[in-house]
Each structure stands twice: as structure tokens, then as C-alpha cells.
Symmetry: C2
């Protein structure tokens, strides 16, 4: 780990000073070694075409697979630069998981910071906005996603919980809200609902359209036992999840957030394993 953060934070507050690299450079006027420009991928063109690019000098076969393509898109190599590229025509607005296949190894797009949170991270996210319920709408108010890291005493494990609060939650002190628990599918993670599924933006949109009541949404990681990933059904995993939810997570939500009481204000939903 780069220790700079620790050194900075270990200093007393307000004595913190960012290092002045410009001064250092004046003393040592060595020219920086110029790195090649990063490979940009994907590029969403105005006509809806999408171009994928990846540098793989020695590779023999490179293709793209994903939710926006039937089968695979075979990329072609530029012999000079070693950059493989290919274009999909007229991709509909939407959110798509996709991967590069470089000589048989499925992997994320190193040109794209948007990754689908998964147990086995091999999937990048292509989001083409365009009138969908899961798009971010700059014209409406937005909720907040709160990340709690905690040690769950009922199962003796470190756990993370994400809590969505609806628009206006921070600005009023009186309103109380019902609680929905969302559970993800096998191989995903607690953050997949928001990072990939855009659950928070869907809720913002539904609430703004008065198609959903303002609510608090709780998203837990569904694999408290890491080894439960990839090994079929695990009653032990489900049991740990239940105990963590009922005895640690929900009590924390009820303590920290303004929630309505009672079973008529609790719901749970999910997809696949969830």
C-alpha cells in the first residue's frame, strides 16, 4: 500500500500539507518519461455505434462478449500499435455487462473504470443513457447510498451494508419510511444493485414519478461465507445471512435511520439466489 495516506492522516489536523511537486521539479528538471496515451474504450458514438479497444501486442485472438451482442464481436489488430478494435452498430440505450476474451481468458475492459461488482470480476459495464428508468435524471432530486462496515456479532464476520435513503431524507427530521431489503443473485455482491443495477436511480425515478413511495432500501452481501460462491446451494450461508440480517443489520437500520415500525413496513425481495 502506498503509505502517503497514512502519513497524511497521522499528522495533526490542519498541519496537513500536500507535497509541492512543482517545487521538487524545479530542483530536478529531468523531463518525465512520456507514457503512451491510455487506450479509450468503449466509445459511444452519436449514432449509437459502440467501439471497443484493447491493447494486446502478442495476442492471437481478441473478441468481445456481452449482453449487447449475440455471440461475440471479433476485434481486429492494428499491427503498428498492437491495439485491437471493433465496432458494434446501433446499440440500444441500456446497461450491458461485457468482457474481453483475449486468447481464451475472459477479462474486464482495462479502458473502462465501470466494473460490475462480482465474486469473479471479469465484467465491465456499458451504460448508454436514453430514456430508461435506470438512467440518472439531472432534473429530479436524488437519494443517498450509505455504506456501513461492521463486525457482525451474530456470525463473527466483517460485513458491509448499503442503505439507500430517498431524496429529502437529510433535509427533514420528522418523516419516517418503510424498509425494503434487496438480496442479489449468486456471484454478485451487495454493491451490484447500485454499481450495475442502478437501484438507487430507479428508486429516484419511481419516487419522482410517484410510482413508488419514498422508502429505505437495505442491500447486504449475500455471500457471508465466501466459499458459498460457486459451490451450489449452501444452507449454512443462507442461515448466516438470515442471522446477520435479523440480528445485526436490521437493528442497525432501526437505530440509525428514521424507519416506520412494524411488519407492515418491512419487505424483502431479490433475484435468483436472493
Amino acid at each position: 500500500m502506498n503509505r502517503s495516506l497514512f502519513r497524511l492522516l497521522a499528522l495533526p489536523l490542519f498541519l496537513v500539507v500536500a507535497p509541492d511537486f512543482s517545487a521538487q521539479e524545479k530542483d530536478k528538471p529531468k523531463p518525465r518519461k512520456k507514457r503512451p496515451a491510455p487506450v479509450v474504450s468503449p466509445t459511444i458514438h452519436e449514432n449509437g455505434d459502440v467501439t471497443f479497444r484493447v491493447k494486446a501486442l502478442g495476442a492471437e485472438k481478441v473478441s468481445v462478449t456481452g449482453e449487447m451482442v449475440n455471440g461475440r464481436l471479433t476485434l481486429e489488430k492494428d499491427g503498428k500499435t498492437g491495439i485491437w478494435s471493433g465496432t458494434l452498430e446501433k446499440v440500444e440505450p441500456g446497461i450491458y455487462g461485457y468482457s474481453f476474451d483475449i486468447d481464451g481468458v475472459k477479462q474486464v475492459d482495462p479502458g473502462n473504470p465501470a466494473l460490475k461488482p462480482m465474486r469473479s470480476p471479469r465484467t465491465s459495464v456499458l451504460h448508454i443513457p436514453g430514456g430508461n428508468i435506470f438512467d440518472f435524471d439531472p432534473e429530479i432530486p436524488h437519494g443517498t447510498v450509505h455504506v456501513h462496515g461492521y463486525y457482525s456479532k451474530p456470525i463473527l464476520r466483517y460485513r458491509e451494508m448499503r442503505v439507500y435513503t430517498p431524496p429529502g431524507y437529510e433535509s427533514n427530521d420528522d418523516e419516517h419510511y418503510p424498509v425494503l431489503v434487496l438480496q442479489h443473485g449468486h456471484s454478485d455482491a451487495g454493491s451490484t444493485w447500485t454499481e450495475y443495477g442502478k437501484a438507487h436511480w430507479i428508486l429516484d425515478n419511481l419516487i419522482a414519478a410517484e410510482k413508488a413511495v419514498p422508502m429505505i432500501v437495505v442491500m447486504l452481501d449475500g455471500h457471508p461465507i465466501p466459499e458459498s460462491y460457486g459451490n451450489g446451494r449452501s444452507p449454512e450461508n443462507t442461515d448466516e445471512l438470515r442471522r446477520d440480517l435479523m440480528k445485526a443489520a436490521l437493528p442497525m437500520v432501526e437505530k440509525f435511520y428514521r424507519v416506520k415500525p412494524g411488519r407492515e413496513n418491512r419487505a424483502i425481495a431479490g433475484l435468483s439466489m436472493g
Copy 2:
């Protein structure tokens, strides 16, 4: 995108029911196609050794590079399974970024869900706990990281802000806190402070040890202009960051959070570009 989430959320609240897959399976008793077990990587052994593994059937050379190894660790292939593996001896407790190099393509470890958030995602995170200030301590109280997605009117862009609030923030209504803004280095992202740097755990530890006063920490993405990544210094990028921070982000923090007023309660720090 898998539309299940939308379908679920579009239903009226409390009518939501998770599909009952067990019943479906009774009707259609086809055996599932058994997938091979996932490749586990990395494995941290009790003696401090760390084993890395990746499946790459057709690859010719696979190695690991990273902050915990001088040069590179060359992996060896199991001819039957196509799984490459290798072990580093006695790795000190710490947090390390590392990558696989498969025939010259640097990439994340697909066996490890912990990724370093970067503009060009090629780096996984190995965290070996052991008495460091950046470890999660189950014995002390913990703060919360709040994620705000917003449309920044001063720069006309979608932006994300992470806000750390110290332990106890949710349980008291009166206390007000000073504000520290943290800016990350070139090629990182706003979430790198927490996902990789564990800034929130460092603060929890320092506050518990009374080495830091409880404070609110604001973490913004330092590349409001995406093209500023990889293209050297960008005064335009710095200017957008400044306007977003001063005219959108900080006003939001001052509206939503209990912060102490005045310049004596504001600080900014960062590393490298930050």
C-alpha cells in the same frame, strides 16, 4: 442489463415476492449442468505465504507483479487443469496492489473481488491484516461512508461525492465537526481512498486512539474531465474540480451534514495530483 430489478421495483411495494425457484425445480427435475469450482486466489496461508492462481489454458507465460514483490513472481501451469499458480513466501501484513501478466496483458485477478478503483482497472487488492493502522478493528466503533450522486450545475456534469462521518454521528444530534477534503492521485478515483486506502478505517482507528479529532471527510473524483486521465496536467480539469468542490460539493456538505463553520474548520489534503 438484467431487467429483474426493474420489474421487481416497478411492482407496488409489499406485493414484491421473490420467485420460488425450488417449486420450479420440482416441476422440471433436470439436473443442473455442474460448473467447475471457481479458482480461488489469492490464498493467505497461516505462515504468511500467499498463493496466486489463475486459469489460462492457452497461455504461454503468466506472472504476478505488485507492491509485495520485487520484479515478478513467475507462475507455473498445471497441464491438466490449465491453472497457473505460484506462492510468495512470508508477505508482511499490509495492503498491496497487484496484477496478473498473462502473455503481456496486465489484468486484475479474476479470483479476487477486491479491486483497486482506477481509471484503467488492472489492479487487484491483497489485504493481509496484522496490526496496521489501516486494518478494520472489530473492537472499536466505526463511521459511515455516504455516497452522493449529483448533477453539478457549476460544471454541468454528473459527479459522485463520498462523505465519511465519524463513529457516533448518527446517534447524536448536536455535535458539529470540522471538514477535511481528500484528493486522490492521477489515475485513481474518489472511491480509491476507501476501497484501497481504507481511509475510513484509518480515521476510525485514529479517532478511537484519540490521535485525530472526529471529523467529516469529503472525497471527490479528481478527474471531472474524463480525458484528463493520461494526458498530463490539465488546468481545465483542475478548474472544474475547484468549481465543483466550492460551488456544488461543499455547499451540499454544509447543507446535509452537521459541520462546524468557518475557515478554521476546513482543510484540504491529497497525494500526488491531489
